[in-house]
């Protein structure tokens, strides 16, 4: 079985599982991958041998920790590439997705890291309404506003998301700016203080502002 097929399968498992947060049914998987059941069974056998998935009674599949990690990695590559192709190169969304599907298996982690640093991971299409799952910070070691608690004195590292970037910039939320986290509700709406003004932000906006602790 080819590596790319195994990766596709893990990616599909990862996306389906993160949406429903349950075991994945075979039918869902074959719909997502558009492959026959036999083909999928063969791939799953191989993945099970490698310890990336576990099979439950009734044929449902769950990802193991290593499998989840791999699936997430492929998913992230896919998203970054897709974002780059649509946002930066202006490619049509469907085509970009297909292209990303091919490229994601060959591209190195370093390239993806550099690429995502460049385009700042959250292209607007990546945030789909209805998907409640928390998105991980784009880069290892980078923390968004949501990772800090009330009263922390912070400094902005980068800001993502073209849709709302402009307003944030105009309010002074630019890299290097000192801000303090004034209020964080349990539902993750926050208030930050920037340039002596209080600004209220929704969680999805706060998530796109990467910060570090001021020393």
């Amino acid at each position: 079985m080819r590596l790319s097929q195994r990766e596709d399968c893990l990616e599909a498992l990862y996306t389906i599982a993160s949406e429903s947060e349950k075991a994945v049914r075979l039918a869902d998987l074959s719909r997502e991958l558009q492959m026959s059941d036999e083909e999928i069974q063969a791939i799953l056998d191989e993945l099970e041998q490698q310890g990336h998935i576990a099979r439950l009674a009734g044929g449902d599949v769950v990802l193991t920790d290593t499998g989840r990690e791999l699936g997430e990695g492929v998913f992230r590559k896919h998203r970054t590439l897709e974002c780059f192709l649509t946002e930066m190169l202006g490619m049509d969304a469907d085509k970009a997705s297909q292209e990303a599907c091919r490229l994601e298996h060959d591209v190195s982690d370093e390239t993806i890291d550099r690429l995502s640093l460049y385009i700042c991971d959250s292209c607007p299409g990546a945030y789909r309404w209805g998907r409640k799952r928390e998105q991980k910070p784009a880069q290892e070691g980078m923390q968004s506003l949501l990772d800090f608690s009330e009263g922390d004195e912070l400094s902005v590292v980068s800001v993502c998301g073209p849709g709302w970037r402009r307003r944030l910039i105009d309010l002074g939320i630019v890299p290097g700016q000192s801000i303090s986290l004034k209020r964080k509700l349990r539902n993750r709406s926050i208030v930050i203080r920037v340039k002596h003004c209080d600004v209220a932000l929704s969680p999805e906006i706060a998530r796109s502002i990467f910060v570090e602790k001021r020393t």
């Binding site: 980068s158 307003r167 910039i169 630019v174 509700l185 709406s189 209220a200 932000l201």
Partner: protein, 616 residues
């Protein structure tokens, strides 16, 4: 001479404009209430000076409607001079906009407003130093107290001049600007815009975008961020140089209470409920007094005159319309507007928006949308106009549906005047509950099916202030005028027509036609259905017309409790009034307006029929 006022949202621009021109413009303590250009004029030394109040904006480089409007305004040289109004307590952020305005090279002065608040916060700004840094005249004012406002026009007239400051941009940006200047002969300002991707001149834009890519690749930041960071840094440098002292503020921060989940949300609910209750109780008291006074002083003497029947019909219709309009709508609407103005001026609305953000996400909008929804409790028309501040079309569509369902003060009059007065307080509250549930259900449904993107909230919290009685009354009165001068004539004319229809038997014919439907489906008498139709003109007219058509203000004498309940419920739910439809059409276009109208009509009739079926 034409002078433009420019500044961030809620820096007191509109208030200054009011005082300069004496023309009524609404002032609000939350971002973005002045969207259209408001103009007025004043006379200074026998010269006419036209003053334009530009919408409050944070930046001139953005792509929002307001920002584009202001940019074109300045670009086309429509203003001979500009007054940049700044909030002295937020100098650094306000300077950011001033730096951008300065690049236009238009003669200008700066007004440092709210110095009273600045003094309270323990700050002092060295005006002379600031004048030196900016190269223009700076005036300290306190618009809420009228301090120094009279000096603005003389200062503009005598010493407005282009600012001498230059923002030191990043070397690569400066190099790019030079390149564009040399190769294409573009000015500095246009070059900076082109670099930020604002299309004006195509060749310039193409050349700039090639350079932009290089710069962005090198800096790993977008060019907008680089340019903005340069301006912000320069603004900070200036602010640091001119702000004299900064005492640590030891005042108790009320926001600790207002924005926390725990006392915050109960406080929010309490504020909204007590607002409604206050309107109910005080409004009901005033209503009774006014209605009775009209009865004794106008209607009874009129009936005693023994006029010829036609004249009496017309006169009586007029009198009843006056009684209903002034006595029923006036107390509720005016009191609600006063409370609303207080809420706005204290800056509490932005706290409400913050707290409601999460809940609003569930119905497909963000916290900012709570402001038009609350405004809708007063009148749907300004609320629909407030939809402009929402970012995406998806949010606007959902907002349009929900706002038109919010029971405005006119509908409150119906609920109170009919259900609370003749059926009971509890049934009246159930109407609110039904409407609230329907709004939530509609929001949940629409958020699933409306296409488009979901944007989050980025909202500047207005500073907490003590509202000033004079300003509150003025603003409420301004809003009330719409009611008096647009609604009252309509009510009077409508009433006369009704009186005449009645007199010539047209009403009876119509009622005969509609009777099977109204009695069969809704279980209400046919004249009540006629009254319902009048609700389309203005919501509370449904109630007033019911009294007129029924010939008595004692509604329980002519309809059963259930009939009254259904009548109120249907008229609250169905069809936004004509003014709302008109403003919806302007803001959202024909299709959405039609959809909203049909949806609400359907909803009203279905719910009404359902209640009739269940309890009839």
């Amino acid at each position: 001479m034409k002078v433009a006022l420019i500044g961030n949202p809620s820096v007191g621009k509109s208030l200054i404009f009011n005082q300069l021109t004496g023309i009524g413009v609404e002032v609000s303590n939350y971002p973005g209430t002045t969207v259209e250009l408001k103009g007025g004029s004043t006379c200074y030394q026998r010269e006419m000076i036209d003053i334009v109040d530009l919408p409050g904006i944070y930046s001139l480089d953005g792509t929002s409607e307001e920002e584009e409007l202001v940019r074109t305004f300045l670009l086309e040289g429509k203003a001979d001079a500009v007054i940049v109004v700044m909030d002295a307590t937020r100098l650094e952020r306000n300077l950011y906009l001033l730096l951008q305005v300065a690049e236009f090279g238009i003669p200008m002065i700066a007004v440092l407003n709210m110095i009273d608040e600045m003094e309270k916060a323990g700050l002092e700004i060295d005006t002379t130093a600031l004048e030196y840094q900016l190269g223009i005249e700076v005036l300290q004012t306190a618009a809420s107290k009228g301090r120094n406002i009279e000096k603005i026009i003389p200062l503009v007239r005598s010493s407005a001049r282009p600012a001498t400051l230059t923002v030191p941009y990043d070397r690569s940006v400066e190099a790019a600007v030079r390149t564009l200047e040399k190769t294409l002969g573009a000015g500095r300002t246009e070059s900076l815009w082109a670099l930020q991707g604002i299309k004006k001149d195509f060749a310039l834009f193409e050349a700039a975008s090639a350079i932009t890519e290089q710069i962005e690749a090198r800096h790993r930041m977008t060019i907008q961020q680089i340019i903005a960071a340069n301006r912000h840094n320069y603004a900070r440098t200036i602010a640091d140089r001119v702000i004299k002292k900064r005492e640590a503020r030891k005042r108790f921060d009320l926001d600790q209470l207002l924005t926390g989940t725990i006392p915050g949300i109960p406080i929010l609910i309490l504020v909204l409920l007590s607002t409604l209750l206050f309107v109910f109780i005080v409004g009901a008291f005033l209503e009774e007094t006014i209605v009775e006074a009209f009865q004794i002083l106008l209607i009874d003497p009129l009936l005693g005159l023994g006029l010829p029947p036609l004249v009496e019909t017309i006169a009586l219709s007029l009198a009843i319309a006056l009684q209903a309009g002034l006595g029923i709508a006036f107390p509720f609407v005016f009191i609600f507007y006063i409370l609303l103005s207080i809420l706005e001026d204290t800056g509490y609305m932005t706290r409400a928006a913050f707290l409601a953000d999460n809940a609003m996400h569930r119905v497909g909008m963000h916290g900012g949308a709570i402001i038009p929804l609350i405004l809708g409790l007063g009148c749907n028309v300004p609320a629909v106009m407030g939809l402009r501040n929402l970012t995406s079309r998806r949010e606007k569509i959902i907002g349009a549906f929900l706002i038109t369902m919010v029971p405005c003060s006119a509908r409150t009059v119906i609920i109170l005047g009919i259900v609370a007065a003749f059926v009971g307080i509890l049934p009246a509250l159930t109407i609110y509950l039904i409407v609230f549930l329907l709004i939530t259900a509609t929001g949940l449904l629409l958020s699933r099916f409306t296409p488009g993107e979901q944007y989050g909230m980025i909202l500047e919290m207005a500073p907490l202030r003590l509202p000033q009685a004079e300003l509150v009354i003025k603003k409420s009165w301004m809003r009330m005028q719409e009611f008096l001068f647009i609604a009252m004539p309509m009510l009077l004319v409508g009433s006369i027509f009704l009186g005449l229809f009645e007199f010539f038997g047209i009403t009876a014919m119509f009622e005969e036609l509609i009777a099977p439907f109204s009695e069969g489906v809704l279980g209400i008498p046919s004249y009540a259905a006629t009254a319902l139709l009048f609700g389309i003109l203005r919501k509370e007219m449904a109630f007033e017309m019911l009294a007129i058509l029924g010939g008595t203000a004692n509604l329980s004498a002519m309809m059963t409790s259930l009939q009254l309940y259904i009548f109120a419920l249907v008229s609250v739910l169905f069809v936004p009034c004509v003014s709302t439809i008109a403003v919806l059409f302007r803001e959202m276009g024909g299709r959405i307006t039609a959809a909203v109208t049909f949806y609400t009509v359907g909803l009203g009739i279905i719910i009404g029929a359902l209640v009739n079926l269940l309890f009839g």
